[in-house]
Symmetry: C2
């Protein structure tokens, strides 16, 4: 046996950047070759086809974002504080100039959901897990006494997720720091009320 020469995670991260730049359809195999450094044949050998590379890149993206999310809550005894910092982090991300300010999950879902059930299902599950993780933090914050029980954690989690979706889209046309920060602040206030 001879093992592949390339770093699979690095290739997937390069691919997700390429998909974020141009979208799935407009990203050609030539673009992917340039971004990943892999020749077409190697891509087909490792991921079956272009769509397989997208699916793998999406899963890697989800893994990375999930790890990133968890990092906001280790070494912290306040879940509410962690959620607030996480939201601020997302705002900073929206203000970034490169194309990684978008979320690959929602971007791919928007582009392919109506045409590809497998992509739709995969992304839906991942977004569901993300929402579930957020809901869990709200439940913890309620247990910690930082947020009241007047509304359920599920209710707050949904609203928070909706707000992040909205912030990301809003940032496309209004990338002004003050506006976004103010919106996020209001969102966090409302979701904790």
């Amino acid at each position: 046996m001879r093992s592949a020469e390339f770093d699979k995670v690095a290739v997937l991260r390069a691919a997700m950047q390429a998909f974020l730049n141009k979208g799935y359809t407009k990203t050609s195999m030539q673009d992917l070759k340039q971004a990943t450094g892999l020749h077409p044949g190697s891509i087909y050998c490792a991921f079956e086809n272009k769509r397989g590379l997208l699916l793998a890149a999406i899963s890697q993206y989800n893994q990375d974002r999930s790890d990133e999310f968890c990092a906001f809550f280790i070494n912290s005894d306040s879940s509410k504080q962690g959620l607030e910092t996480y939201l601020e982090h997302i705002v900073e991300e929206c203000l970034s100039c490169d194309s990684s300010k978008a979320c690959l999950l929602t971007k791919a879902l928007n582009e392919l959901a109506e045409q590809d059930d497998e992509v739709q299902t995969l992304i839906s599950q991942q977004l569901e897990a993300w929402q579930s993780a957020i809901t869990d933090k709200f439940a913890r914050a309620q247990n910690e006494g930082d947020i009241s029980d007047s509304r359920s954690a599920e209710c707050r989690g949904r609203y928070f997720v909706m707000g992040i979706y909205g912030l990301r889209t809003f940032a496309n046309t209004h990338p002004e720091p003050d506006t976004l920060k103010k919106l996020a602040k209001q969102l966090f206030k409302d979701v904790c009320a």
Copy 2:
């Protein structure tokens, strides 16, 4: 002179449906021929190229949605009530099964913004006008005494728009009527507080 034989508005509405179904890139000229009933040559004669047809379809879409928005406020002396009904209407739209539940403006912006400055500019202006119209209704509602002056109309307009963006995206993975209606209700409560 000989005038064109087709109904331009009908063609543009058919084109926007096609673009909503598959997205701009994946909608082929064959799809557009089938959707509009126009042969390629006629499309190029009337709209210059595929991109020109998209730009025209976007403008028509914006016109239609703008008219629709205004209809919620004629024969009504309560701007606040109009906004609430409008939001309920958007929720109903999100629950629709066909692909017209998406917004062509945000869909096209997501797909093409990073690659086409003219599309980006056109859509940004139209979304700005929409936000401005909403802000104006909040200002009226404040004048009418239905909403307090504790926050500016601009602030409320931005938040409302952000919430609608969020609702639309959220509906992609959670098309459950009760959940969406509850989210919209909470949004309206928060934006009016």
